[in-house]
C-alpha cells in the first residue's frame, strides 16, 4: 500500500534520512521505533510531502507521492495526527473536527464519524464549543487524533499519539488504534512508548540515524536484545 524506497531527506544541509526503505501493507499496523532525532517524524513528514526527498521515492497504491502537494496526498486518503498537536487554536473543537473532514468526498459519513469520535473521547463533547487553544495539552492531543480520524483515511499516520495522555487514556488510545485498524484503516505509528506500540502493531521498523537497522514482526522485535535494551529500557 505504502512504499518508501531508499529515501534521502534533508533539513537545510542536515541529513535526516539516509536511504530509508520501508513498506506498509493494507490492513496492517506498522510501528517505527527509534531514539529522539532518529528520523521517525521526518519519515512521516516525507510521506505527507512536507519534506521532499532528495533521492529515492515514496509511493501509495502504486502512485508516486514525492512530487504531489500535501493537500493532494491527503485527498488520496492519508491523514496524520502530528506530534505537538498543531490544532487550530482559534477555532472551536467542532470546527477543528469539521476541518478534519474537509477533503472527504462522502459528506454523509461525517455526522456518524463525529458521533464516533465523541464516544471515543467524551471529554471533547464537553468542550465542543470551546476554542482549541484553551484546551489542556492532553485534550489538544485527543483533538488532533480525532481530527485525523474525521478524514476517514485509508492510511493513518500517528505521531506520538500517547504523548501527554493520562495512563487510562493511553490504554484507550491503543484500544482505539486496534479498533479502527479492524475497521479497515491501515496505520503507521510512531511512538516512544515502544512497549505499547509493539503490543498493538503487526510489524515494526527500528530506525537509527535516518535508516532502518532492523525490521521484523512485532513479536520478534519484542524478543530482540537490541530493542529490549535500547527502547524498552530493560537492563
Amino acid at each position: 500500500m505504502l512504499e518508501l524506497a531508499d529515501v534521502h531527506a534533508y533539513y537545510g544541509n542536515i541529513r535526516a534520512l539516509r536511504g530509508l526503505s520501508l513498506s506498509v501493507e493494507r490492513g496492517e499496523i506498522v510501528t517505527l521505533i527509534g531514539a529522539n532525532g532518529a528520523g521517525k517524524t521526518t519519515t512521516l513528514r516525507t510521506i505527507l510531502g512536507l519534506v521532499r526527498p532528495r533521492r529515492g521515492h515514496v509511493s501509495f497504491n502504486g502512485q508516486r507521492l514525492d512530487s504531489l502537494g500535501t493537500d493532494r496526498i491527503v485527498r488520496l486518503g492519508i491523514a496524520q495526527s502530528p506530534e505537538g498537536r498543531h490544532i487550530f487554536p482559534r477555532m472551536t473543537v467542532l470546527e477543528n473536527l469539521e476541518l478534519g473532514a474537509f477533503a472527504r468526498p462522502d459528506r454523509d459519513g461525517i455526522a456518524p464519524d463525529l458521533e464516533r469520535v465523541f464516544s471515543l473521547f467524551p471529554r471533547l463533547r464537553e468542550r465542543i464549543a470551546q476554542k482549541g487553544g484553551t484546551l489542556s495539552g492532553g485534550e489538544q492531543q485527543m483533538l488532533a487524533i480525532s481530527r485525523a480520524l474525521m478524514a476517514r483515511p485509508g492510511l493513518l499516520l500517528l505521531d506520538e499519539p500517547s504523548m501527554g495522555l493520562s495512563p487510562i487514556l493511553v490504554d484507550t488510545i491503543f484500544r482505539i488504534i486496534e479498533d479502527i485498524n479492524r475497521q479497515g484503516t491501515t496505520i503507521l505509528l510512531v511512538e516512544q512508548n515502544a512497549r505499547m506500540a509493539l503490543r498493538v502493531a503487526h510489524r515494526g521498523y527500528v530506525i537509527q540515524t535516518g535508516r532502518v537497522v532492523m525490521h521484523d514482526t512485532a513479536a520478534a522485535l519484542w524478543r530482540s536484545d537490541l530493542v529490549r535494551k535500547t527502547y524498552l529500557g530493560e537492563k
Binding site: 537545510g12 544541509n13 542536515i14 541529513r15 539516509r18 531514539a35 529522539n36 532525532g37 532518529a38 506530534e83 505537538g84 498537536r85 471529554r123 468542550r127 470551546q130 484553551t134 484546551l135 489542556s136 495539552g137 492532553g138 485534550e139 492531543q141 485527543m142 506520538e160 504523548m163 501527554g164 495522555l165 493520562s166 495512563p167 487510562i168 487514556l169 493511553v170 490504554d171 484507550t172 516512544q192 515502544a194 512497549r195 509493539l198 503490543r199 498493538v200 502493531a201 537509527q208 540515524t209 535508516r211 537497522v213 512485532a218 513479536a219 519484542w222 537490541l226 535494551k229 535500547t230 527502547y231 524498552l232 529500557g233
Partner: protein, 654 residues
C-alpha cells in the same frame, strides 16, 4: 588576515574625504547624509531586530530629534522659547534624551500588545508627529472673545525651522566645508555601532532576544518584559535623537515633510534587507539602499537619456528613474523575502551536530546518566546558603475559573523543602493551570500561595522566578533562534546585575560577572549532557535535548523549587530513566524541592515522596505513591485497570 579587514576599513573611512577632495568628486555631502540614515536604521534595529517589536513609525523619533535641535538652536522663531539659541553640543544630548523619553511614552501603551497591534499603534504615532508639527505652527486659543494665545508659532508649521544653528568648534569650518560634518557623523556612528554591539552581547541584549523569541517563557525565566521592552524603545529612540539633531544642523533647515511615513518604511527596508538583528547586515542594507537611491537611480537616468539621445528614441530621453524609487524598493524587498528571508547578512541556520557521521549503524549513544560529581559546584554552594526551614511552597484554597469552567477548585498543596511531590490527574484536570497560577502567569480568583514565608499572589512571573521558583513547559518553550548557551544565560538574567551603562562601558566588575555567568552556564550544560552543543541553535536540537536544555535554563535561575511539566513526555524509556536519575540527583545533592506533573507512572511512583491527584480542578486524593496506586477514585478517573495489569507483569505483544 582577520586583523587586516577592520584596519583597512578604518583607513578607508578616514582617507575617503581627502581622496574625494583630491579627485574633486564632491560626494562627501551625500555620503554624510547616507550615514545619518544608516544610524537611524541601526537605532530601529534595536527595536525591530533585537527586541522583535515591529515599529512602523520610527521616523517620528527622527523628527523629534531634529525638532529638539531645531527649536533650541534656532535664532529666528518668534516665540519666547527661541530667544536664546543653545549650543549644538548641548542640544544633541537634549535631543537624544527627549527622543528616549518619548520612546518611553510611546512604548508604555504598546506593552500589552504585540505583532499586528503594536505595528498599528506605532503607525499611528508615526502619523501623529508630523501632523502635530504642521499644526503647531499656528496655534490660536479662543475662549469666548478672549484670545490668550493668538497665532503662536511653536514649530514653524509647514515651513519648518530655518535656519538651524551650526556647531561651533574653534578652528573647524563647519560653515564652509562638508568634511567636518563627515567626521562628526562618522564619530557618532562609530560610537553608536560600538555601543550597540556591546549591548547586543550583554545581559540586556540577551533579554531583548529572549522577549523576541518567546515573551512568556522569558517572563518565566526571570526577564521583566515591561522594563526590557521599554528600554528597547528608549534606547532605539535615543539613537534617532542623535541622528535627527545632526541632520537638522547639517541641513540648516527642517520641514515636517522630511519625516513622513515613507521614511519609516525606507528605514525598515534597510533593516530587513540587511538582516534584522545583525549590525553588519543593517549597515550593509542601509548602504545598499542609500547608494541605490542617491547614485544608481540618477546615474542610470543619465545613461538611459544618453542612450535615448544617441539612438534618437525620444521616449527614453524623458525617462526619470528616480520617480520609480519606491517601485524598486518594493521589488527589492519582495525578492529578498522570497530568496533570503533572513536578510542579506542574516544568520544562517547551522546544522545540528553530528550531521556527517556517515557509517554508524550501531546502537545510538544512550544519553549519559548524570554523575554525582557533575552537579555544578556553584549550585551546591548556593544551595548550602539557603535557610533550611523557609524554602517551601504552601498553597491553600486555590481557586480559578475561566468563563464558566472551574479549572481549580479549593486546591491545597504543600511542597516541603527537598521533597519531590507528584501532581497527577486526567487530561484537563487543571494541573498546568495550577503551575500557571503558582508562577504568576494566571491570577487566582481566590486562595493563598506562600513560598519561603512570603505571599506570591499578585507578583509578576519574573518576580516569582527571582524568589526562587523555576519551571519548564509542557510544550517546550525555548528561545528557538538563540544558541544553547545563550538560552541558559537568559536563565541567569535575574541573578546578574549589570546595567545599561555597565553593558556598554564594561567595567571590570561586569566583565568578571559575565565571565562567571558563562562558566556557570557551561557547567550546567555539562551537567545535563549538552556540553558539546553550546553553539547550536536551540531549535536544531532533537526533542530530548530540548527538554534537557529547558531544565538547564530553569536551574540557571538558581531555584529553590522546580516545577516540571511532563518532563519525560516524548522520551524513550532510556532517556526517561536518565532524566529520572537527574531529578533525583537535584533533590539529593541540592535539596531542591520539586513539583512534578507527569503521566509516566513508573517515574511518578518511583521518585515522588507524596502525590496529589486532581480531577476537574478538585483534589481528589493525596498520599504516598503506594496509597495513590490503591485509591479507588484515582484508579477509576486516572490510572485505569490496565495500569495494574501492566504493573503486575509485562505482557508481550499479541
Amino acid at each position: 588576515m582577520k586583523r587586516l579587514g577592520p584596519a583597512a576599513l578604518v583607513v578607508a573611512l578616514l582617507a575617503y574625504p581627502f581622496v574625494d577632495k583630491a579627485l574633486g568628486l564632491h560626494t562627501v555631502h551625500a555620503v554624510s547624509d547616507g550615514m545619518i540614515y544608516m544610524l537611524l536604521a541601526l537605532g530601529l534595529n534595536i527595536v525591530v531586530g533585537y527586541a522583535g517589536l515591529l515599529d512602523l513609525g520610527y521616523a517620528a523619533f527622527f523628527a523629534i530629534g531634529a525638532y529638539a535641535m531645531g527649536l533650541l538652536n534656532s535664532p529666528v522663531l518668534g516665540s519666547p522659547l527661541y530667544g536664546h539659541a543653545w549650543s549644538f553640543w548641548v542640544c544633541i544630548w537634549v535631543a537624544a534624551a527627549v527622543s528616549a523619553l518619548l520612546g518611553l511614552v510611546i512604548g508604555a501603551p504598546t506593552l500589552r500588545v504585540r505583532g499586528d497591534y503594536l505595528a498599528i499603534i506605532t503607525l499611528g504615532f508615526g502619523e501623529i508627529i508630523p501632523v502635530a508639527i504642521r499644526n503647531l505652527g499656528d496655534v490660536t486659543i479662543e475662549i469666548g472673545g478672549w484670545r490668550p494665545i493668538e497665532r503662536l508659532n511653536l514649530t514653524g508649521g509647514e515651513n519648518g525651522v530655518n535656519p538651524v544653528g551650526r556647531p561651533h568648534l574653534p578652528g573647524v569650518p563647519f560653515e564652509t566645508d562638508p568634511m567636518p560634518w563627515y567626521f562628526l557623523i562618522l564619530i557618532i556612528g562609530a560610537a553608536s555601532v560600538w555601543a550597540m554591539s556591546r549591548l547586543r552581547d550583554s545581559r540586556l541584549g540577551r533579554a531583548w532576544m529572549a522577549i523576541r523569541e518567546d515573551e512568556t517563557a522569558a517572563d518565566c525565566t526571570g526577564v521583566n518584559p515591561i522594563s526590557t521592552k521599554l528600554l528597547a524603545f528608549a534606547l532605539g529612540a535615543s539613537f534617532s535623537g542623535f541622528a535627527g539633531s545632526v541632520y537638522a544642523a547639517k541641513l540648516q533647515a527642517i520641514t515636517p515633510g522630511a519625516f513622513e511615513f515613507q521614511v519609516s518604511i525606507m528605514l525598515l527596508c534597510m533593516v530587513v534587507l540587511g538582516g534584522a538583528g545583525s549590525l553588519r547586515g543593517v549597515v550593509l542594507g542601509a548602504m545598499l539602499i542609500t547608494i541605490f537611491d542617491r547614485v544608481i537611480l540618477s546615474q542610470t537616468t543619465f545613461l538611459v537619456r544618453a542612450i535615448g539621445r544617441t539612438t534618437g528614441v525620444s521616449a527614453l530621453t524623458a525617462v526619470d528613474l528616480t520617480l520609480w524609487r519606491w517601485f524598486f524598493f518594493g521589488l527589492g524587498l519582495v525578492l529578498v523575502m522570497l530568496l533570503r528571508p533572513q536578510g542579506l547578512a542574516g544568520r544562517r541556520v547551522r546544522p545540528v551536530a553530528g550531521g556527517d557521521a556517515d557509517d554508524e549503524t550501531a546502537v545510538p549513544e544512550p544519553s549519559a546518566p548524570p554523575r554525582l560529581e557533575a552537579v555544578p559546584e556553584w549550585l551546591r554552594t548556593r544551595a548550602a546558603g539557603v535557610d533550611a526551614s523557609a524554602a517551601a511552597l504552601d498553597v491553600r484554597g486555590l481557586t480559578k475559573s475561566f468563563g464558566g469552567v472551574v479549572a481549580l477548585n479549593q486546591v491545597d498543596l504543600t511542597v516541603p523543602r527537598g521533597a519531590i511531590i507528584g501532581l497527577i490527574g486526567p487530561n484537563g484536570a487543571g494541573k498546568t493551570t495550577f503551575f500557571n497560577v503558582v508562577t504568576g502567569l494566571v491570577r487566582p480568583d481566590a486562595g493563598r500561595i506562600t513560598f519561603a514565608g512570603g505571599s506570591l499572589v499578585g507578583l509578576r512571573p519574573n518576580a516569582i522566578v527571582a524568589r526562587g521558583i523555576a519551571r519548564t513547559f509542557q510544550s517546550i518553550r525555548l528561545f528557538a533562534h538563540m544558541s544553547v548557551l545563550d538560552n541558559v544565560l537568559v536563565g541567569e538574567h535575574c541573578r546578574l546585575e549589570s546595567s545599561v551603562a555597565g553593558a556598554v562601558v564594561r567595567p571590570p566588575s561586569v566583565v568578571a560577572e559575565e565571565q562567571r555567568a558563562r562558566e556557570r552556564a557551561r557547567s550546567l550544560l555539562a551537567f545535563v549532557g549538552l556540553a558539546d552543543k553550546e553553539e547550536d541553535l536551540a531549535r536544531n536540537l532533537p526533542y530530548g535535548d530540548q527538554r534537557r536544555l529547558e531544565i538547564a535554563r530553569a536551574l540557571a535561575t538558581e531555584p529553590r523549587l522546580l516545577l516540571l511539566d511532563e518532563p519525560t513526555a516524548g522520551m524513550n524509556p532510556r532517556e526517561t530513566e536518565a532524566l529520572t536519575e537527574l531529578i533525583g540527583l537535584l533533590r539529593r545533592e541540592l535539596t531542591l524541592s520539586i513539583l512534578l506533573i507527569e503521566h509516566d507512572m513508573e517515574v511518578v511512583m518511583g521518585i515522588s515522596d507524596r502525590i496529589s491527584v486532581l480531577d476537574y480542578g478538585t483534589r481528589i486524593a493525596e498520599g504516598t505513591p503506594a496509597e495513590i496506586q490503591r485509591h479507588a477514585r484515582v484508579i477509576e478517573a486516572y490510572l485505569g485497570t490496565g495500569y495494574e495489569a501492566e504493573a503486575a507483569g509485562q505482557s508481550g505483544p499479541r
